[in-house]
C-alpha cells in the first residue's frame, strides 16, 4: 500500500499530500492524473499531478475538501498509508515551443498547472502564469509559480490580494495589450474554464482545458467520464483530460458532475457527524457553497 509521506493543510479547505509511488512518478508527465482509494471501502477518486519528486519517488497532489472522500483524505497521517494509487493515467499535456505560453489556474487548478508550467518552460517558452482565487486566504503555490513563470499575475475575486478581478479579466488585458500568446492552458472550476475559452475564441488563441468529469476505472472501461467535444463523445480518462476548450460542451460537464449531488451530501453529512472521525475543526465546519449564504 502506498505510503503517505506528508499531508498538510495549505489553505482553509485545501491540503497537499505526498505519496510514495516510485514507478508511477518515474513514468508520470505533466497533465496526467492518478486515481486513489483511501481505504478498502472507499471511492476511487481522480487527482491531478501537482508535483513530481523523481529522486525520492514522491507524487504531490493538492486537493480541496468538497465531500466525504476528500474529507477522509485529510485524516491520513504522515507515515500512514492509502489503499491504492494507480497511474499515471490520461494523456500528458501537449508541450511545444509557441514562443509565449500562458497558464491559467483558478482555485484548486493552481496546483496542476505548476508541473505543466515547468514543462512549458523547459520547452523554451516564455511562460506567463495567471492564478486566481476567491480571496487571499485560499491562494497557495504562489512561490512555486514565481520560481517558474517569467511573468506571474495573481488575482482575487474580492480584491484582498493582487489584482482585483477574475483570471479572465487579466488575460483579456494581456490580449488587448497585444501580447502574442501562442498557447493557453486553463485549469480550474468549470465556469472559469468556460469563460476563458469563450474569451480566447474571440482572439483566436488555441486553448486547452483539463476536464474533471466523474470517473471510476480511469482506463476507458466504463464510459462514466464521457464528455462532448466538438459534438463527439470522448472518454476523458483516456482521450483527455486535456481538450480543445473551444469545442468542449461545458454545460453538459457541469450537469454530469451533479449526478450524485443528493447522495454525496447525505454521505458527507453522516461523515461530519460521526464522532469517531478525526477531522480538523475547519473541515468539520464544512458547508456547501449554496448553504453558506443561507
Amino acid at each position: 500500500m502506498p505510503k503517505v509521506v506528508d499531508n498538510q493543510q495549505i489553505g482553509p479547505l485545501i491540503w497537499k499530500m505526498q505519496v510514495e509511488v516510485p514507478r508511477l512518478v518515474e513514468k508520470a508527465k505533466a497533465g496526467q492524473f492518478v486515481i486513489l482509494r483511501v481505504n478498502d471501502h472507499g471511492e476511487r477518486v481522480p487527482m491531478s499531478i501537482a508535483g513530481l519528486n523523481r529522486e525520492k519517488g514522491l507524487l504531490t497532489i493538492v486537493y480541496q475538501v468538497v465531500g466525504k472522500t476528500s474529507a477522509l483524505m485529510t485524516t491520513v497521517e504522515a507515515g500512514g498509508e492509502i489503499a491504492d494509487c494507480v497511474g499515471p493515467l490520461g494523456v500528458a499535456s501537449h508541450v511545444d515551443n509557441w514562443g509565449i505560453a500562458c497558464l491559467i489556474g483558478g482555485g484548486i487548478g493552481i496546483a496542476p498547472i505548476y508541473p505543466i508550467a515547468q514543462a512549458y518552460k523547459e520547452a523554451g517558452n516564455k511562460v506567463i502564469t495567471i492564478i486566481g482565487a476567491r480571496s487571499k486566504d485560499i491562494l497557495f503555490y504562489e512561490e512555486e509559480h514565481k520560481a517558474v513563470a517569467d511573468e506571474l499575475y495573481v488575482c482575487t475575486d474580492d480584491g484582498s490580494y493582487g489584482h482585483h478581478g477574475f483570471v479572465s479579466d487579466k488575460l483579456k488585458e494581456l490580449l488587448d495589450d497585444g501580447v502574442k500568446i501562442g498557447n493557453i492552458m486553463a485549469i480550474g472550476p468549470v465556469p472559469m474554464m468556460k469563460v476563458v475559452a469563450n474569451l480566447t475564441k474571440e482572439y483566436n488563441v488555441p486553448t486547452w482545458v483539463s476536464l474533471n468529469p466523474l470517473m471510476i476505472d480511469g482506463t476507458g472501461m466504463c464510459g462514466g467520464c464521457r464528455v462532448a467535444v466538438g459534438g463527439e463523445t470522448k472518454f476523458a480518462c483516456v482521450d483527455g483530460p486535456d481538450f480543445d476548450g473551444h469545442k468542449v460542451d461545458f454545460d453538459l460537464l457541469t450537469a454530469r458532475l451533479g449526478a450524485y449531488r443528493d447522495q454525496e451530501r447525505k454521505a458527507m453529512k453522516r461523515f461530519l457527524e460521526d464522532p469517531h472521525c478525526r477531522l480538523a475543526e475547519s473541515v468539520r465546519q464544512f458547508k456547501y457553497p449554496d448553504e453558506v449564504n443561507k
Binding site: K27, D84, M221, C222, G223
Partner: protein
C-alpha cells in the same frame, strides 16, 4: 428426500454400492432440481440465487450419468473436462479427487459450474438428455458441487511446483484467461507476476458478473490459491501506462501473456446518450459489484437507483444489469431488445431467472432517442417497434423498424448493454503488435502467439466478448506454448 429419490436410494441399496444401477434404471432418475431462493425474496437481496446441490442430491444426479464410451459431453466442453471421470469419483464420494480431475483441464470449476452456458456446451449433447426424461445430466451443478465441497472443506491441495526454472512471465489482466495461465505456469516452476489495472483481481468475474450469480468470495479464493502457490499480484498497475509491454521485457520478464478482455463499452450513438442516468453496463455493474455501491451503508461509491429502469440488450450482461436494477429497488425493470426472444444471446437460465423475478421484456423494440428533464436527467426514451426481415451476416434475421410505431417509454435509468469493443491502451503502446480491424489482438489459434516474439494473448481481447471457459481454454493453450518457448528459446 422426495419420493422418487427415495425409491432410487432403495433400489441402489439392493445393488450394493454405486454405479451398479442398470442403465435403464439410471435413465429413469429425474434430473435433480437445484434449490434456489424464492424469486420474491431474492429480487430484494444480493445473495446467490441457487443454493447448490446437497451431497445426497449430487450423488443421485451423478447416478444419471451413463458413462458413455463415446463421451459426447467431453467433446461439447470447450476445454474437454473429463466429465464421466469426475462423475465416477462423485459416486466414490471422493469429491476432492473429482475436483482435481476437473482442474486438470479447467482451473476454475467453482466459477464455470455457475456461469458456463452448459445448456449449449457439455449438456446439450449428453446422451441421458436424449432419453425419455429429455433432461441431460446436470454437469454444471455437479461441477459446482465438487468445487464448493473441496473449498468449503479445506481440501484444496496446492500442487507441488516444479523446481524453479529461472524464467519469468508477466501476465497482463487477471480475468479467467490470465488466472489460468498463471496457475499453469507457476506449477511448471516459472516465476509469475500478474499485472492488473483495477485494485482487485478477477476481471469480469469481479467487476461484471453480480454477487447473486457469482459470489466474489469464490473468485477471491481462487486468487488466494494462486498467491499461495507463489503467483505475485500487482494490482493497480495499468500496462500501457504504468509500464509498457517493452518495459516489462526490460524489467527481465522472458514472456508476456495479454489477457486484458474486451473492456471498451459500446453506446448506441443516438440523441441524448450523455444524459445523467444513462450508464454503460460496465459502469453500472462496476459501481455495484467491484465498488459495492449496493451496500451504501458500508461503501462510498454512489449509484443511481432508478424506479423505471430500461436495460438495452439481450445478452448475459443485460440480464445481470436488469436483475441488479430490481435489487436496487426498481419498480419496473425492462429488457429492451431489438430482436425476438429466440435470438437473445443470454443463457436460458438467466432469462428464466429474470422472468421469475418480474423483469418485463420489450422485445422487437429499439430506442431511437433519449429525452431529458431540465436537470439533464433522462426521463423518457422514444422507442420504435421492429419486425424481423431477411437474415443478416450472422445468420439471424435482421430487425427492421416498423414505420409509425414510435412510442414513448418513461424511464429514469437506462443501462446500455449492447456489447464491448477492445481497449486500445496496449496496442497503442506496443509497436509491432498486430490487431485486426476490430482492434482485437491477432493470435495463433493453437499457440496464442501474437506477432511479437515472446508475447501471447488470449480471451476476450483476441475473440471479442465470449465466455469464461473459452477465455480459460485460451489460457491453457497459451500456457503450454509459453512453457515450450521458455524452455526451448530462452537460455538461462
Amino acid at each position: 428426500m422426495n419420493n422418487e429419490n427415495k425409491a432410487v436410494a432403495k433400489k441402489k441399496k439392493k445393488l450394493e454400492g454405486p454405479n451398479k444401477l442398470p442403465i435403464k434404471e439410471r435413465m429413469k432418475i429425474p434430473r435433480q432440481v437445484m434449490p434456489a431462493q424464492d424469486p420474491n425474496v431474492r429480487k430484494k437481496n444480493f445473495e446467490e440465487v441457487p443454493f447448490g446441490l446437497s451431497e445426497e442430491m449430487a450423488f443421485i444426479e451423478a447416478e444419471r450419468c451413463l458413462d458413455c464410451p463415446t463421451q459426447p459431453c467431453v467433446k461439447g466442453c470447450p476445454v474437454e473436462v473429463d466429465i464421466p471421470g469426475f462423475i465416477k469419483l462423485i459416486l466414490e464420494k471422493d469429491y476432492a479427487a473429482a475436483a482435481r480431475k476437473i482442474k486438470e483441464t479447467n482451473a476454475l470449476p467453482a466459477v464455470c459450474g455457475r456461469v458456463c452456458p452448459q445448456e449449449e456446451q457439455c449438456e446439450i449433447v449428453c446422451i441421458t438428455g436424449k432419453g425419455k426424461s429429455g433432461k441431460p445430466v446436470a454437469i454444471g451443478y455437479l461441477e459446482r458441487f465438487v468445487a464448493d465441497y473441496e473449498r468449503e472443506h479445506n481440501l484444496v491441495q496446492l500442487p507441488k511446483n516444479a523446481p524453479p526454472t529461472g524464467r519469468k512471465v508477466a501476465i497482463v489482466g487477471s480475468g479467467p484467461a490470465g488466472l489460468t495461465v498463471a496457475g499453469d505456469l507457476i506449477k511448471l516452476g516459472h516465476e509469475v507476476t500478474i499485472f492488473e489495472a483495477l485494485h482487485r483481481p478477477g476481471g469480469v468475474l469481479v467487476y461484471g458478473i453480480p454477487e447473486f450469480r457469482l459470489p466474489k468470495s469464490i473468485v477471491q479464493a481462487e486468487c488466494d490459491v494462486l498467491a499461495d502457490m507463489g503467483v505475485q499480484f500487482r494490482n493497480s498497475t495499468v500496462i500501457g501506462k504504468t509500464d509498457t509491454i517493452d518495459e516489462l521485457f526490460e524489467m527481465g520478464y522472458d514472456a508476456i501473456f495479454i489477457g486484458t478482455g474486451a473492456g471498451l463499452p459500446n453506446f448506441m450513438g443516438i440523441e441524448g446518450e450523455n444524459l445523467i442516468g444513462i450508464y454503460s453496463a460496465n459502469e453500472y455493474l462496476t459501481r455495484s459489484n467491484l465498488m459495492r455501491a449496493f451496500d451504501e451503508d458500508e461503501y462510498d461509491t454512489p449509484i443511481i437507483r432508478g424506479k423505471n429502469v430500461a436495460v438495452l440488450g439481450g445478452g448475459n450482461t443485460a440480464m445481470d444489469a436488469v436483475r441488479t436494477a430490481l435489487r436496487l429497488g426498481a419498480e419496473n425493470a425492462y429488457i429492451v431488445y431489438r430482436r425476438s426472444e429466440k435470438e437473445m444471446p443470454a443463457r436460458i437460465e438467466e432469462i428464466h431467472h429474470a422472468e421469475e423475478e418480474g423483469v418485463q421484456f420489450h422485445l422487437l423494440t429499439t430506442p431511437i432517442k433519449f429525452i431529458g428533464d431540465e436537470q439533464n436527467r433522462v426521463k423518457a426514451m422514444e422507442c420504435v417497434k421492429m419486425e424481423l426481415g431477411e437474415p443478416d451476416a450472422s445468420g439471424r434475421r435482421r430487425p427492421v423498424p416498423i414505420e409509425g410505431s414510435n412510442y414513448i417509454m418513461e424511464v429514469d435509468l437506462v443501462v446500455v448493454a449492447i456489447g464491448n469493443s477492445s481497449n486500445p491502451l496496449i496496442p497503442q503502446t506496443t509497436p509491432g503488435l498486430e490487431c485486426n480491424r476490430w482492434g482485437n489482438i491477432v493470435a495463433d489459434p493453437e499457440t496464442m502467439q501474437t506477432s511479437r516474439k515472446g508475447v501471447y494473448a488470449g480471451g476476450d481481447i483476441v475473440t471479442g466478448g465470449a465466455t469464461v471457459i473459452l477465455a480459460a481454454g485460451a489460457g491453457k493453450k497459451a500456457a503450454r506454448a509459453i512453457h515450450k518457448y521458455l524452455m526451448e528459446e530462452v537460455k538461462k
